[in-house]
Amino acid sequence: MKSTLTDKVPLRRIGQYGIFLALVLICLVLALITPKFLTVPNLTIIVTQVSINALLAFGVTFVIITGGIDLSLGSMVAVTGVVAASFAHPDTYPLVVPLAMGLLAGVLIGAFNGFVITKSKVPPFIVTLGTMTIGRGLALILSKGRPISNLSDTFNFIGGGKVLGVPFPILVLVVAFVSCSVILRKTVLGRYMYAVGGNEQAARASGIDVSKVKMWVYTLSGGLAALAGIVLTSRITTGQPNAGVGFELNAIAAAIIGGTSTSGGTGTMAGTLIGALLIGVISNGLDLLNVTSYYQQVAMGVIIIGAVVLDSFNRTSAS
């Protein structure tokens, strides 16, 4: 079978390579401006800091590919963190308990999102907006408005520990990335996600249980948010009811920068990871250069718009 490079690589994906090039370029520029940037400790710190946003972004990538959105991510981080922290005091439960409870909380909230969205046909934007507020409230109720501190050392290892010199959050990130990529690219579920987002009617007519796919997607998003919540809680060694405010926006930004189209049907985990890294590198670089956060916000906005413009440009030139 004859096939050239251009056949295998749809034009649309050039956007993603463009973002990768942008990441490399920005890294080069930062390396030239400040010698502090391109060092192993600094790069390690960037990836550690990125891990939480990347975990959330993986989840929301699933959701956006099916044509949905999940605004409850930040609140889920808070709830799952608080839940995990409540079971993580020293000499109370073994480590699996806080982890399982945290994950369970995330999975339940995610499944709740999926359930309401599929049963009521209310747009995901509105449902998850509601869950965002509910989640924040739950986090405050469960913690009585106060941070939950005094967590066990084993629990704190997740966010602060190192294995063979590699910070544990990076390991979590790598495992999650590989798993999510496999789900998206190699499983029936992953293929169905693209189908549902690309053309929901056609997916249904092809015998796909669209509701089930959506249930899965929001549940996965909840589970990954729980993972992020646990890592964050362990990293700051406190369950914070007000943690994660606005995290959903950064996660969505990472997915979009990485080439996931908000109209559904396209996107890759690699793209999302690059998007998250890009955000992290810029934030780290501007901190190193002591640029105030005001400019950082402007820079982030410019990048998001740039990525989407690039995406739509590729789209029109492809069709």
Partner: protein, 310 residues
């Protein structure tokens, strides 16, 4: 035809409330009601102040109606308006913003209901103010840093949300002291948005760019101070850097006891809450009261931390 009796009924009911409203002051003996609008019940310190108020109210037999403004000045103004409509006997407000919460004070005063600002200020003068001077808290923190470093060294400051009253005042206080010590150099400052993980990331990045040059960190609240401590400990630098923050939340007190956080500044929630309720009560009953009740800050270090730990 049927509509007429209802209209009359409604009018009577309205007049009724009007007259009972006028009689308000004479009902001595019955329980007084105080409306309370708090900045944010997601903030531990504010929750503490609110708890102390409840405690004091119980003790004095006052009924408190506490609402959460969720950091929205608009919401706060609306809450005060509804307190005015409910004809409460006094209002305690923990303002969200200096300017934007001012209309709430005006509304209350216009309705002849005493309004007491607690913890922070508004532009419009309320009936009374109970709280502490944020500028002073930062002066205490920075003075401690100056002493520890012997007046010489590199300092980093982590701000709260830029432009908020607490951030502005704490920055002002810190800079006043820095000016008195020309040997102290502010090498970097950035907003940590009052948030522990945000401040931790910030500190991690600073450690990359300044490393061993950092001698002290002043964080404008304990959450951010704890984040900085985490980052410094992970980098193995904690022993070489002095970290001071403000608020004395339980987590920070623990850290001071362990020696990871060098000092925090105690803002007396108990006093603020209790004195606010007392002042509100006096104002409602028409008794004499202080128009400004300033609760002093206290520096908490390893030496005196025991007395703050409950």
């Amino acid at each position: 035809m049927k509509r007429l009796p209802i209209t009359i009924l409604a009018a009577t009911a309205l007049l009724g409330t009007f007259f009972t409203g006028c009689n308000r002051g004479d009902e001595s003996g019955s329980k007084l009601t105080v409306g309370v609008s708090m900045l944010s019940m997601q903030n531990e310190f504010i929750v503490n102040v609110s708890d102390e108020m409840e405690k004091k109210a119980k003790e004095l037999g006052v009924e408190l109606v506490v609402v959460d403004a969720e950091r929205s000045a608009l919401k706060q103004v609306e809450q005060i308006e509804s307190f005015v409509a409910q004809q409460v006997d006094a209002i305690i407000m923990n303002p969200c913003e200096v300017e934007a919460s001012s209309p709430a004070v005006t509304r209350a005063l216009a309705a002849n209901i005493p309004i007491i600002n607690v913890n922070s200020e508004t532009k419009t003068q309320p009936t009374a103010f109970v709280g502490s001077d944020d500028v002073e808290s930062a002066r205490i923190a920075m003075r401690y840093i100056a002493e520890r470093l012997g007046g010489r060294g590199n300092v980093i400051m982590i701000h709260g949300y830029m432009g908020q009253a607490a951030q502005l005042k704490r920055e002002q206080g810190a800079r006043e002291i820095l000016q008195n010590y020309p040997g102290l150099k502010l090498i970097a400052h950035q907003s940590g948005e009052w948030d522990r993980s945000k401040s931790m990331s910030l500190m991690e990045n600073w450690i990359q760019s300044y490393g061993g040059q950092i001698n002290a960190v002043f964080a404008q609240n304990d959450e951010m101070g704890m984040g900085a401590v985490k980052a410094l400990t992970a980098a193995g630098l904690k022993d070489k850097v002095v970290v001071v923050s403000i608020d004395a939340i339980p987590d920070a007190l623990d850290a001071v006891k362990k020696g990871t956080l060098d000092a925090t500044v105690f803002q007396n929630a108990e006093q603020q809450g209790a004195r606010a309720v007392e002042t509100a009560l006096k104002a409602a009953k028409g008794e004499a009261f202080d128009k400004q009740v300033l609760i002093p800050f206290e520096l908490v270090t390893k030496e005196n931390v025991a007395q703050y730990l409950k």
